[in-house]
Amino acid sequence: MQVKKTNYTVNATPTFEVLTEEEIEAIYFSALRVLYETGVRVYEEEGVEIAHSGGAIVEDTTDDSSLVKIPPWMVDKALATLPRKVVVVGPDREHRMELYKNQIYFGAGSDTPFTWDPYTGERRRATYEDVKNFAKIAQAMPNMDFHMSLGIVQDVNVGTYDRWQYLAMLEGTTKPINITAVDLDGLQDQLEMAYVRVGGKEEFEKGPIFSLYIEPVSPLSHSEEVIQKLLFATDNGIPFVYTPCPLAGATAPCTLAGTAVQALTESLFGIVLSQLRKPGAPMIIGGLMSNMDMRTTVYCYGSPEMALLSAAYTQITKWLGVPMYETAGCSDAKMFDEQAVLEATFNATTAALTGGNMIHDVGYLEQGLTSSMEMMVATNEIVDRVKRILRGIPVTDETKALDVIEDVGPGGHYLEHDHTYTRFKDLIWQGPLTDRQNWENWDLAGRKTFRDRVHARVLEILETETEPLIDEDMYKELRQICELADERHKGEELDFDMFV
């Protein structure tokens, strides 16, 4: 039989879709209606003024806020200038995120009050040293592409902990960082620190070494602090994540389509405001949508609804051409246990298969209240498996290997064949922490479980000496910015012991 050759290769990456294009459109156009007819409440005068002079209707102004209604044409206009691709780099330009359709990057979550101490095995308040150690783990994990502060630094001033967190992360990693800021002052200080780290404002503008996390409050509220951060980031060329965190059934409709409509409305307002302020300002919308647990009232970080909503929202953002902030690698489990791995596997797999861009919250346990180094290391391995699946099964003349089958023939074997030798490492996945030994060897090796192996890897990374990532002079300069901030916030110290 003659094989007709096609003139192109088809390699369909496996994808996971939960909405049809018609459904995406229905959600988008509904969000436009909510933005115009229900409106959003804005607690910052300048933000209201910018929206108003851009064509928005402003109603019901009170002492502290206004209801702002955005007509659909303003959204069209904003989307026309919004960059479809956003780039965030590491300080040495080696690590780089190109955020656009289907480009997946995994990274940590941020600002957990608690952490699991890998040595004592106790859950306690997070410190500077913890945040630095988490950054070190992220640096060592090939599938962690960006980083966030996996702990609120609580052994420093409460009003300035954001600067210390940034310093701790810079000490531990050269990957792109997504920062949080206590307030505008904290953001300004961290931008100064980034200038120091990268060699000046111009260098930062060429390739920003951090993005900023901003979280409007659901339902449909944009606080003073949120708008101030948005405007500052826009003015200073800082890419920012604008991610509401609606809770289906509590701060958003119980129906997931309704939650998606509301979240999109909240994000679209951020898009409109940023593009009015500065056309072309880079932003990423998200991204953290889940349900309230109706027994305990907690925000679920490991529910199937979260995975489903993330998938739906990713599809919407791809259709819109806006970079997406996804959520995965996280769990509601209290410690690194079977539920933690189960939930992280589930949400990391769906996140990767839908092609969300900046997939955060790796390392979260206990609904984002506790961080775990084991969780991050385990998720790295989960992501590695998922990436294998994403490579799919390319079907070509070469991969169908008819000549090799012919060559080996009935009853032979492929182990010695060149075709195997040159390809197996790339095609047959191996994970450093996955056990495939036979019983005898596993028994001899001390019957180590996945949990044991992950824990051992965490300790190995922590105990491996590494070269400092920043030299002493630069460290001093960075530290001085933190100390000057402490000076300005004197008397606001929280007694760290009160948390113990």
Binding site: P113, Y161, V217, S221, L247, E492, M498, F499
Partner: protein, 213 residues
């Protein structure tokens, strides 16, 4: 227990909002006092709801629906109770402290406490210490409840307690606090009387404070 009281209790458990007023009227027509209807009918239902919720058999939206049903009946009964026959379990003043706009947790506490028979006044979000003070003077609550979600704003709880002390009102109220970053130790350190980890335990704590537990 009279058949009508039992039906009232069942209607509360089932969250049968629409039938409450009619049932309460029926009970009054039978000669039962507003006090009896409240204690044996409505509160009986709510106590059952509380138990089922703790056992994991009822969920938050169902508890809130039951509380709403009870409130429906109270519309009719309240004027009679206010006439001196009985009081609410107690009065609670609530607010999310200065700098914080998050209010879902605080709202839940309010609804749960209302369900437990408290008269609740909610000052909303971003509440300044001064606003708490004037509301304490005017509303005269038994309990002041404060909430914060952010580590940065939880300090405002301490500031508010200090302000209450300085105004000489500290002895008049019990202070309870809550929110994701808050712990018992933090509550102790800033001089709060209690801490609750979630809305249901906040309502239990409030009952303890007024001796209704």
């Amino acid at each position: 227990m009279s058949d009508t009281l039992e039906r009232l209790a069942t209607a509360v458990v089932e969250g049968n909002v629409d039938s409450m007023e009619e049932l309460a009227q029926e009970a009054l027509d039978e000669g039962l006092s507003a006090q009896e209807i409240l204690n044996d009918g409505l509160m009986g239902g709510m106590n059952h709801v509380g138990k089922e919720f703790k056992a994991g058999n009822m969920f938050v939206p169902e508890v809130l629906r039951s509380a709403k049903a009870m409130k429906e009946a109270m519309k009719l009964l309240e004027p009679m109770l206010a006439a001196g026959e009985a009081q609410a379990t107690g009065k609670i003043l609530l607010g999310t402290v200065k700098g914080d706009l998050h209010d879902i947790g605080k709202n839940l506490v309010g609804m749960m406490c209302e369900g437990a028979g408290f008269d609740v006044r909610d000052l909303g979000t971003d509440v300044e210490p001064d606003q708490f003070l004037s509301a304490i003077k005017e509303f005269e609550p038994d309990i002041v409840g404060m909430s914060a979600l952010l580590t940065t704003t939880m300090r405002a709880m301490g500031d508010t307690i200090k302000a209450i002390e300085e105004a000489g009102l500290r002895d008049q109220v019990k202070v309870m606090i809550g929110g994701a970053p808050v712990t018992q130790r933090f509550a102790d350190d800033i001089g709060a009387d209690g801490y609750a980890a979630n809305a249901a335990s906040a309502s239990d704590l409030a009952k303890e404070f007024v001796g209704a537990a």
